[in-house]
Each structure stands twice: as structure tokens, then as C-alpha cells.
């Protein structure tokens, strides 16, 4: 019953998020002003930045849920970590594809080995390793514990990515919204970005809730089958 409610809430969030993303696309095409220096290509910003935000949100949830799993050994924490990690990989792929497309026009190259790009790619690979560890350890309980450790260690990269723009010489633009003096973005651009951020966040949270409830249901089913098998053998 509880998992049905979570699944319904997830679906509602996904649809609300899709609606916000459709609105964002309308704003990007018909409403928001064109950036003076970069021209039309700057509009990738409204997909790239929310993609990055959602990725870091997802990997942050994976790290917190993994810490909770190591501490409490609660299956729900591990299920939440898996659900968030899958979302993080998907939204991370959106960020890692949209970034080079923008960079090709803005910097003249798809990829440059500058700190933020490199660290973000490495973060994505670390969470790919998260799934490899889970799947490759014969004892599932040990696999979950190892994966949780990988998630926590990998998350230490997230603050480094955030500060890398100011710590190192970087081609990547610095923050334009969260700044001590306030956002330096044109108000219409800021509105479009906020709509996109809301849309991406809702889609992620909806998929997360949906996937989490499926994961829990699958584990309940597996436990029931194990119990039935044990009962039959007894």
C-alpha cells in the first residue's frame, strides 16, 4: 500500500516535471533573450546546468543513503541509494553530452582537460564503479556494503568540483546565480533557468520515487520466494 502511494507520487512528479520542461523549451525558443557574446548556442545552458544540478543532487542522495545503510543496515537506505545512483548516471550523461556540444561552439573544442570537466567525468566513472562493485561481489550483503563505501568516497569529489572553478585556472564559466552579490543573469534568463531547474528536479525525484518503490517491491518478492523455498525444504 505504502509503495503504491510512493509510486503514484513519483508518477505525478514526473508528469509535473515533464510539463515544466516543455514550458522551459517554449521559453527557450520564443521568450528568453539571446545572449550577446555566444548567441543562440548559449541556450544549451538551460539543459546543461539543470542536468549538472540534478546529477550532484542524485549523487549527494546516494552518499547520504549509503552512509545511512552502513550505519543502520536498513534495506530501504540501500534501495534509495541504488535508485538515486541510476538517476545520477542518466542525468550525468545528459550533462556530459550537452557540455561538449556547447563547448564545441563556445571554446572551439568538444573536450578540454580542464579541472571541472575532468573531475565531473571522473565522478561519473566512480558511480559506474558503484554498480560494478555491487554486481561483481558474490555475497549480496557484502556487495551492498562495498558499493556504499564507494559512494561515500566518490562523493568527496563533489565539493572539489564545486570549488575547482575558483581554485584552478579554468575555462569553465564561474557561478552566475549563487553569488555573494546576487545573480548576475538577465531576469528572463534566470526565470527560464529556474523553470528548467524545477522541471529537472521534479523528473528526477519522480523517477527516484518510482524506482525506489520498484526496488523495494522486488526485494520483498525475493524474500518471500526465499522463505517459501526454505519452508518447502523444511
Amino acid at each position: 500500500m505504502e509503495s503504491t502511494r510512493v509510486r503514484t507520487a513519483g508518477l505525478l512528479l514526473v508528469w509535473a516535471g515533464v510539463a515544466a520542461i516543455l514550458l522551459m523549451h517554449w521559453m527557450v525558443v520564443f521568450w528568453v533573450p539571446t545572449e550577446a557574446a555566444q548567441g543562440v548556442v548559449q541556450r544549451i545552458f538551460y539543459v546543461h546546468v539543470p542536468g549538472a544540478w540534478t546529477t550532484f543532487l542524485a549523487f549527494g542522495i546516494v552518499a547520504l543513503a549509503s552512509a545511512a545503510y552502513l550505519w543502520l543496515e536498513d534495506e530501504r537506505a540501500d534501495a534509495a541509494a541504488v535508485a538515486a545512483a541510476e538517476g545520477g548516471l542518466i542525468f550525468g550523461a545528459i550533462m556530459l553530452i550537452s557540455g561538449p556540444l556547447w563547448g564545441r561552439v563556445a571554446w572551439g573544442t568538444y573536450w578540454t582537460w580542464e579541472p571541472r570537466l575532468t573531475l565531473t567525468l571522473l565522478l561519473w566513472f566512480t558511480y559506474l564503479g558503484y554498480f560494478l562493485v555491487r554486481g561483481s561481489v558474490a555475497d549480496p550483503r557484502r556487495g551492498k556494503r562495498f558499493a556504499a563505501v564507494v559512494a561515500i568516497v566518490g562523493s568527496l569529489n563533489i565539493p572539489l568540483i564545486h570549488v575547482s572553478v575558483s581554485w584552478f585556472r579554468s575555462l569553465h564559466p564561474g557561478p552566475v546565480v549563487i553569488k555573494p552579490e546576487g545573480p548576475t543573469l538577465h531576469p528572463d534568463m534566470l526565470t527560464t533557468l529556474l523553470v528548467s531547474l524545477a522541471g529537472f528536479t521534479m523528473v528526477f525525484l519522480g523517477l527516484f520515487a518510482f524506482r525506489y518503490s520498484i526496488e523495494l517491491a522486488a526485494r520483498r518478492q525475493a524474500r518471500a520466494e526465499d522463505a517459501a523455498l526454505a519452508g518447502g525444504l523444511a
Binding site: L123, T126, G129, V133, V137, L156
Partner: protein, 225 residues
Amino acid sequence: MTELRWTWLIARKDLNLEFRAGGRLLSMIAFVVLAGFLFGFALDKGQVPGRAVVASLTWLTVLFASTAGAGRIFDTEEEDGAFRHVLLTPVSRRAVFLGKTVANLALTWLITALSFIALTSFLGVRTSGSLAAHAAIFLPGTIGLSATATFFGRMSRHSNLGDSLLPVLTFPLLAPLVFFGATASARVFMALPWDEISSLVRLLWAFAIGSVAVGAVLFHHVTDE
């Protein structure tokens, strides 16, 4: 018995095992010498001067050799079940991790020195900057490398992907360390002033301290049998 003494005993035991058996050590030594030879052979020094690449190649050789060897530090004990007995002793998991990291570090220093000699010789880099400056860069770099490889080496022992899992887990985490280390070493080869190197060495120390601390705190999660 203090934690430090346990750490030293574990490290001494592992080093004794290593020097008596010798297989891993010999293969690591052969690897770095052959890698140096192959890099020297394959590189067109007319197009790419050895000085321009020697720092990066040394760091990469150390990374590959130590990652390939790190997981092996658990192998001998794992094969005959002795590691379970180590865990049953009153030694803390932290001391086990630190002891094994120290043992790996000693071997990593050996292969770092050999890589440095092999690559500078085979690439024909004669003026190699101040040796003390190189050592000041490799010291924190190898500590971070050994701690990370020891920690994940334990994890890969339980994986059916075996040794192929270790690079997947460690390389993304060690990439910043290799970048800082190779950049700092290259600057020493270019005889740049220490002021232009010290910030990178501070980052290497931060990585080293962080990786040892994280490993010591989380190691019991990868050793609970």
C-alpha cells in the same frame, strides 16, 4: 600495545612475507624497468623531447605498477585463510589498514625510485632537477596512492572481476593526484622556483592525509567477514 606498534608489526609482517616470497616485488621491478625501456624505445625523441614527458610517464608507471601490485598484499593471507585470523586478533581494523598501507608504501617507494632512474636514463634526461624537490613531491603522492590502492585492493579481492575492478575504482580517484604530481614533477624538471610548485605539493599532502583518514575510518566496512 599501542595502535602505532600494531601498525608497525603488521607492516613488518607483510614486508617479511613480500621479501621472502619475492614474486610480487620482482614482477613490479621488472614491470617498471620494462616500461621505462619501452617508453624510451617507442618515443620519437626528435619530435618529443624526453624532458617534456618524463614526469608524466614516471607518474603513470608508478600508478600502473603500484595498482597492479597493491591488491596482491592480501593475496597470500587470503589464499590460506590467514587474513581471517588476523581479523580475529585484538588488532584494530584501523591498524591493519595502516600497517598494510605502510607495507605497500615501502614497495611503492622502491618502484618509484626505480621508475625515476629507468625513465630518466632511457629517455636521456640528464639534468633532472633537485632530487630533494622530486622526493618532496613523490612522498605525499605515494602516500595517497598507497592508501587508496590498499583500501580498494581489499575490496577487489571479493569481486569476481578480480584485478580488473581495482583500476576502475582507483583510477578516477587517483587521477587528480597523478595530475598534481606530474605537473609538480614537470616543473622541477624545468627548474622552476619552488614557489610555483609548493601549492601543488600542498594539494598532494591534502590528498594523502584525506585518503589515509578516509581509509582508516571506513576500512572496517570492507573487512567485516
